[in-house]
């Protein structure tokens, strides 16, 4: 029968089919003869042979895919994926993994999350048994020999450690060989002993804040992160932030929304009618989620990509916009110009106007102030300016003002002044009542006056000699004004029209003649000259974006990425994007608004995680540090920077930054308590408490007195003093030296004390920071101990003194979540940690135990004074009325400087505390984003679930001695996983806002997701006030839905989304309003080469070399997630592998480079050797070196430096932007990973030349 079918099939098509060339009488004869040579039945067309049996070979592939168990786990990598995977195990060996398919449904009318995964995740199990696996504890031979010798002389480990690090010869001996091999196998016992001794000695001799820990992205494995953080927080060490350090934190988010970052889940992309992917290469960087984008196109979604190069996602786009790198804000301003013109001036779109009134600061009044002989926008008008009863209301300086229909000033509900005062309970909401504030004061019938205001522009290079006024010029434009309480005021909206160059009849000033007028900022024609994007295209996209938002009720979305977020001025770029979504009413609407990439930032069970990791159940506050500033000082990059802050300032600046470098701004920020800094003071904080006790004073008072009389200083004022060095850094789940370490060569030289390829000179006298002490001899090798736990060898482990072997993601229990989907799911061990590896949880437990043992004799119970920065979402944010920091006030902790909190450190019992739940969770509650949760019932339940400690000082406490128990704690203590707490939080919010909100969680009040639940299947979270959106009723999460639908204010000054920022520093930077600032001119600021420079260099005895200078960008890679996977055999095979730099054909031709040639790229920061990938997809003048190229694969010796050289970050360095350092004022206030200077790196340039093709290793 088979034969018949086949024959029929053949005949059916035979008419049209051209017979294969091998057909013919000869072939037929040969095959026909074969009948006599073999068994089996041959089909009549001689094409098929039918045999029975002979399938013994199947065993081979059946065995290959045979397994005896399947375990659910995931990948703890910073990719936003958080995909659930099946891990297959055979005979105790992990064999491979495949994607889980059981995500809860998204509901009808939408594609599902399943399938999720990408080639990188599918390659993970390779690591388990790979040559790069760290199997045993390793210590560098030089150090271990020194230590063993010291132990013979000093039997006590702490004394032995002290004898090494305090001996300059010995410490140089082991520091100078860091990164040069020599890691030898040790034992856990010895490695823990040395590590614990180093921690104890540092706490004792220098202070607990001289110990730092770096481990990023808790959401990618919460307990693994939390276990280490908990240890360090109990010890008093500092935890370094990562979101800002990675430059993934969009500073615009706190500036505009008063929120760290909150974005829609990827299933909500499907709901968008118009999608702009702006600097975000979704198929490459958010692979598991990209399908929603591709699917939405079949629903009629229009897809636009904005990217300088022809990226992978451009293939999916209806339209490709290709601006010059870093000029995106000009394009967004022009689009805003079109939208404001067409929807607010020529025509008035009711929906947009209504949204602007209710949800943005557009109708709020801003005073105009004299600046020389012109007027400039000043401060928000507040109730305190109105006089009378309004001014007497509590916190009147933080109650902003609008006009009503009659032109009278009113103080609407919901501003910061209403948020914390008991008198205003129930009025912190967005309810405007019957007030319909005019967007423009010109909307009022009796407004006749208008004045000219001066606005800075930054699109022109400053004239020679005028560099210290940042920008190049000023535009003068008119705004309608009124007098209110004796002040000249206008609205934010009027200022926006002026800023965007949208003219109205009768206003004075310089206005463009139309869209095609390039002469003045704001127009599509103006942006064309900057970005190269045709004006016509900018108009069309702006128009379509708004038109779609109008007709769809706000379903226009901008999906933005690192391409626009890693610039020095990215806060201004993002503000121009966000302005587009705000003026078209898209924020808080499903399918609309911004969709920033977040890294795996969103710890959905936030409160429980925070409680566990900060050890908030035992001691508060934790020392949480801003990563960028820490590394900037610790690696002495400040010695080479010297960036004059006033060169960044507006031409209309009032001199806030005069004669100061950006490093000085950091010092001011720390001294004012705006930003945290650890090490904090020039002395051990434990000793400060002892001194206070001896003097019979309160330690806080002692610190204030000592600062006042000059006997105590801040460590940031003298970071090169040995007592202010960070001494111990613990790194886990991270690869600073191979991935995130901007200014890699500075790390190597100053922090580690080993060979480096720094090419820059230190800042010359006269340009150095004013407020930081300059020591002529730069410290080499500040750090005493670099301890890293990892499962694979990275650049960081190669430079570490102690390497601890960690379990992989298939070898432990943990939790994972992401912003991209609304599920929490689990890690579970497919096998026990092999060789001598331990989970992060266990290894920090072991370290804590050993630490406590040594602490008995060396530390005991001590008191510690913690300087805590003025914190976001607390009344601290009202420390600076009108954003006007004053210098004439005394030091008052919590107002004019950081809070000073004295805490007890029970060092001998540290381990006991680490593994038990402390009393403060119940006693003080757990505060997240201004709401306090009380978990008494949960503690009772956990006592049964986890059991209680049976003996010792903490008998009766809930046990947290296994990773699984820590998971249960996190889930029980969070609103997203425990409905009772979600409802509890919402009830508080209802009281504060006077709005009905708790129904979003009430139907889940009895729900509680346990660890077993998430082991069975990923679980959808419960809507909780920990976040701003709603999943209620199976709805797709979008940020700020609660704000828009339930009138809950944003955590900003006005309680609305902000176009306008009125802090003094923002004013002096010229960034009150969304504006365009071009990439930093590295030539002007630092004398680096100019992009586009080409030259020939004559080498001594070598043929001359052509060189070209180009922009140097490090976007996210297709074949790795940061440095993870780039060393994976499968990814190396799929990609070209090893270090590569992508360059355009034009640039390659200039320097005679052909594809795959070895090249060297260098600048002031260092050198990189890589192969060139010459591709027409790259624009001329820009090269890419995909982030992150680790030192472990194919790194030859550089001709330029003679050193083995270079990772992608050898060419970058840290640059601080002052606006990121502002704190203590409304939404411009610090919280961990919420605000802080970014580790931006996109503004760099590099010079490239072809090198000898004979490379040596």
């Amino acid at each position: 029968m088979v034969e018949e079918i086949l024959t029929e099939g053949w005949q059916m098509t035979s008419d049209k089919t051209v017979a294969p060339a091998t057909d013919g009488p000869l072939a037929d004869a040969l095959v026909g003869m074969g009948r006599f040579l073999r068994r089996g039945e041959v089909s009549s067309d001689l094409r098929s042979l039918f045999l029975e049996g002979g399938r013994a070979g199947d065993v081979f592939y059946r065995d290959r895919w045979a397994h005896d168990k399947v375990v659910r786990s995931t990948h703890g990598v910073n990719c936003t994926g958080s995909c659930s995977w099946k891990v297959y195990v055979k005979d105790g060996i992990i064999t491979w993994e495949t994607q889980q398919t059981d995500y809860p449904t998204v509901g009808p009318d939408s594609p599902e999350y399943e399938p999720r995964g990408c080639p990188r995740g599918a390659a993970f199990s390779w690591y388990t048994y790979s040559p790069t696996r760290v199997r045993y504890p390793y210590i560098r031979d030089t150090l271990i020999e020194l230590y063993r010798a010291a132990k013979r002389e000093h039997p006590d480990p702490v004394d032995a450690w002290a004898s090494i690090v305090e001996d300059p010869e010995k410490s140089r001996a082991y520091k100078s060989v860091r990164g040069k091999g020599g890691l030898v196998r040790s034992t856990w016992d010895e490695a823990l002993e040395i590590a614990a001794a180093a921690h104890v000695y540092t706490v004792k001799a220098y202070g607990p804040d001289r110990v730092a820990g770096f481990s990023p992205i808790p959401a990618m494995s919460m307990v693994s992160h939390g276990a280490g953080a908990r240890f360090l927080n109990l010890l008093g060490g500092s935890i370094l932030s990562f979101y800002d350090w990675y430059a993934d934190l969009p500073v615009a988010s706190p500036q505009v929304f008063g929120d760290q970052t909150d974005v829609p889940e990827s299933a909500d992309w499907w709901n968008a009618g118009y999608l702009i992917m702006w600097g975000s290469n979704v198929p490459v960087t958010r692979t598991p989620d990209a399908h929603f984008m591709t699917e939405a196109r079949y629903r009629g979604q229009k897809v636009v990509t904005v990217s300088p190069d022809y990226t992978d996602n451009t293939k999916f786009a209806d339209e490709w916009v290709s601006p010059h790198p870093g000029t995106d804000a000009a394009l967004a301003l022009a689009m805003g110009h079109v939208i404001l013109t067409e929807h607010f001036v020529h025509k008035r779109t009711a929906r947009f106007e209504d949204y602007m009134r209710r949800y943005t600061d557009a109708p709020y009044l801003v005073t105009l102030e004299k600046h020389g002989d012109t007027l400039v926008p000043g401060k928000f008008l507040t109730a305190s300016d109105l006089g009378g009863a309004a001014a007497k209301a509590p916190r009147a300086e933080f109650k902003t003002v609008v006009l009503n229909q009659a032109g009278k000033p009113v103080v609407p509900n919901g501003s910061l002044g209403h948020r914390f005062t008991p008198e205003d309970e129930g009025s912190w909401n967005l309810d405007l009542g019957d007030v319909v504030p005019p967007l423009s004061v010109a909307d009022l019938a009796d407004t006749a006056d208008s004045v000219e205001v001066s606005l800075p522009r930054f699109d022109l290079a400053p004239e020679a000699g005028a560099e210290h006024a940042g920008g190049a010029g000023v535009v003068v434009r008119g705004v309608p004004v009124r007098r209110v309480a004796g002040r000249l005021v206008t609205t934010v909206f009027d200022l926006m029209l002026a800023q965007y160059g949208v003219g109205r009849p009768g206003l004075p000033g310089v206005w463009p003649a139309g869209y095609d007028d390039p002469s003045t900022p704001g127009t599509p024609a103006w942006q064309e000259e900057i970005t190269s994007v045709p004006a016509e295209q900018a108009i069309r996209i702006g128009r379509e974006f708004a038109d779609n938002a109008d007709r769809s009720g706000g379903r226009s979305m901008i999906l933005m990425g690192a391409g626009t977020n890693h610039w020095f001025h990215s806060d201004t770029i993002y503000r121009t994007f966000l302005a587009l979504t705000m003026m078209t009413g898209c924020q808080g609407v499903n399918g609309g608004g911004w969709a920033h990439y977040v890294g795996q930032e969103k710890v959905r069970p936030l409160t429980g995680y925070t409680q566990y990791a900060t050890a908030g159940d035992w001691v508060r506050p934790a020392r949480q540090n801003i990563g960028t500033a820490f590394w900037y000082l610790a690696t002495d990059q400040w010695r080479y920077d010297g960036l004059p802050a006033d060169q960044l300032a507006s031409p209309l600046a009032r001199g806030v930054f005069a004669d100061r470098t950006t490093a000085d701004c950091l010092v001011e920020s720390v001294k004012r308590g705006w930003m945290p800094a650890y090490p904090t003071f020039s002395r051990n904080p434990l000793d400060l408490c002892d001194e206070a006790e001896a003097a019979g004073k309160d330690p806080a008072q002692h610190v204030v007195d000592s600062l006042t009389d000059g006997s105590l200083a801040y460590a940031v004022e003298d970071p090169d003093a040995p007592e202010n060095f960070p001494r111990v850094i613990d790194i886990w789940r991270a690869n600073v030296l191979g991935s995130s370490g901007k200014g890699n060569e500075y790390f190597l030289k100053h922090l580690l004390g080993t060979d480096s390829a720094i090419r820059a000179n230190e800042t010359p006298e006269g340009s150095r920071p004013r407020d930081i002490r300059w020591r002529d001899d730069a410290p080499i090798g500040k750090l005493d101990l670099l301890m890293t736990a990892d499962f694979r060898m990275t650049s960081t482990t190669l430079f570490s003194d102690i390497v601890l072997p960690a379990a992989t993601w298939y070898e432990k229990y943990d939790l994972s979540s992401t912003d991209m989907h609304p599920f929490i799911h689990s890690f579970s061990p497919a096998i026990d940690p092999p060789w001598q590896t331990r989970t992060d949880f266990d290894l920090f437990g072991s370290l804590a135990e050993r630490f406590s043992l040594l602490a008995r004799t060396h530390l005991g119970v001590r008191r510690d004074v913690v300087a805590a920065a003025l914190q976001h979402d607390t009344p601290d944010v009202m420390a600076t009325p009108h954003g006007n920091p004053r210098d004439d006030l005394p030091l008052i902790p919590g107002q004019t400087m950081a809070k000073l909190v004295v805490v007890e450190r029970d060092y001998p019992n540290l381990y006991e505390k680490w593994k038990a739940l402390g009393p403060l969770s119940a006693k003080l509650g757990m505060t997240t984003k201004g709401l306090t949760y009380h978990p008494e019932e949960e503690i009772e339940r956990l006592a049964h679930l986890n059991g209680t400690v049976t003996s010792g000082p903490f008998a009766g406490s809930v046990r947290l001695d296994t990773d699984k128990r820590a998971c249960e704690l996190i889930l029980a203590f969070s609103g997203t996983s425990n409905g009772r707490l979600a409802v509890q939080g919402f009830r508080q919010l209802e009281k504060r806002t006077g709005q009905r909100i708790a129904q979003l969680a009430e139907d889940h009040e009895g729900s509680h997701i346990t660890f077993t639940d998430v082991q069975i299947q990923p679980r959808s979270v419960i809507t909780s006030p920990e976040w701003s959106g709603s999943e209620h009723g199976g709805r797709r999460y979008t940020a700020f839905a609660i704000n828009v639908e339930h009138l809950k204010p944003w955590h900003t000054l006005t309680g609305r989304q902000h176009f306008y920022l009125d802090h003094d520093w923002m004013e002096d930077l010229g960034e009150n309003l969304p504006t365009f600032r071009p990439p930093l001119d590295m030539h002007r600021l630092f004398g680096d080469e100019k992009p586009g420079m080409t030259r020939r260099v004559e080498g001594a005895g070598k043929p001359s070399q052509a060189e070209v200078t180009v922009r140097y960008l490090t976007p996210h890679s297709k074949w790795s997630i940061h440095s993870e996977y780039q060393d994976n055999l499968f990814m190396l095979s799929l990609s070209r592998g090893g270090p590569t730099i992508w360059m355009s054909g034009e640039d390659a031709a200039k320097v005679g480079v052909r594809d795959n040639d070895w090249i060297e790229a260098y600048n002031r920061n260092g050198v990189v050797v890589a192969r060139a990938i010459v591709s027409h997809r790259m624009p001329e003048g820009t090269v890419y070196m995909y982030h992150a190229k680790d030192r472990t694969v194919d790194v030859p010796i550089a001709e330029t430096s003679g050193q083995r050289g270079g990772i992608h970050n050898s060419l970058t360095r840290i640059l601080l932007k002052p606006s990121h350092l502002i704190g203590g004022y409304a939404q411009l206030a610090w919280a961990f990973n919420y605000l802080g200077p970014t580790g931006n790196q996109r503004d760099e340039i590099t010079t490239i030349r072809r090198r000898s093709q004979e490379v040596q290793y």
Partner: protein
């Protein structure tokens, strides 16, 4: 009959043949998935397209010639009318042509292997060793033919080497036959046995899996399961799963 002669003309051949046979069995059992030519066609095709057919056609002719000259007693050939003269003409003429073809093909292949980067990278140590012995064997054979058969008086190997080979194969080695054989022929024989000994450990195993069957076989093969359930041999202690007896089921 010296000890050296016994070693060279008895021990060495038998050792080589033993290694050849046992080696192939071993290779087949333990390296079944490595039984391959390790084709480099995907790396380079331009040179291979000439070198490979030249070498292979040449070497097949060479092998055929050796079968005729060594294994078939000359009396049998006389019987079918192939006289000494005709044989000599054929052996020398065709043999020289085959040798030239083979050596030229080999030269192209070796040149290619050394100069084409990807091919050179895919070359193992065993490949290199094998090439040396292959080239040496071919070289001595060609030299012997040129010096003795073309330029010289002609050496009657069918009176010495051929019977000796046959004596080896029938396990009655006659060492004396090899005593007076010229050095070049002796070296050719010894290098050939060395090559045989190396054979199972090189890509030469592909000789035994030459895809000759493809000429006679339909290109789609369907294999249905055979009577034995599962592809695996039943293991001790495990009873095969059987269909439940319906009668018994209904009886319950």
């Amino acid at each position: 009959m010296t000890a050296l002669q016994i070693v060279l003309w008895v021990a060495v051949p038998y050792a080589a043949i033993a290694v050849f046979i046992v080696g192939h069995i071993w290779r087949y059992r333990y390296d079944k998935f490595g039984w391959t030519t390790r084709s480099s066609q995907t790396y380079e095709n331009r040179l291979l397209r000439w070198g490979s057919p030249m070498f292979h056609i040449g070497i097949l002719m060479v092998i055929a010639g050796h079968v005729v000259g060594l294994l078939i007693p000359r009396e049998w050939l006389y019987a079918i009318g192939i006289t000494e003269g005709i044989y000599h003409l054929g052996a020398t003429g065709l043999g020289s042509f085959a040798a030239a073809l083979t050596l030229a093909g080999l030269a192209i292949l070796v040149y290619r292997r050394r100069t084409v980067g990807p091919v050179f990278l895919a070359t193992t140590v065993m490949d290199k060793v094998m090439y040396v012995f292959l080239a040496v064997t071919l070289g001595f054979g060609t030299l012997a033919t040129v010096f003795y058969q073309l330029l010289g008086p002609g050496f009657h190997y069918r009176e010495t080497i051929s019977p000796w080979i046959r004596s080896i194969l029938i396990f009655q080695p006659d060492v004396a036959l090899m005593a007076e054989v010229p050095l070049l022929f002796q070296l050719h024989v010894l290098s050939a046995f060395a090559l045989f000994a190396l054979w199972p450990f090189t890509r030469l195993v592909h000789v035994f899996s030459a895809p000759v069957g493809y000429l006679f076989r339909p290109y789609i093969v369907y294999r249905s399961r055979d009577a034995v359930r599962g592809a695996r041999k039943p293991r001790r202690g495990w009873d095969p799963v059987q269909q439940p007896n319906p009668q018994r089921l209904h009886g319950l």
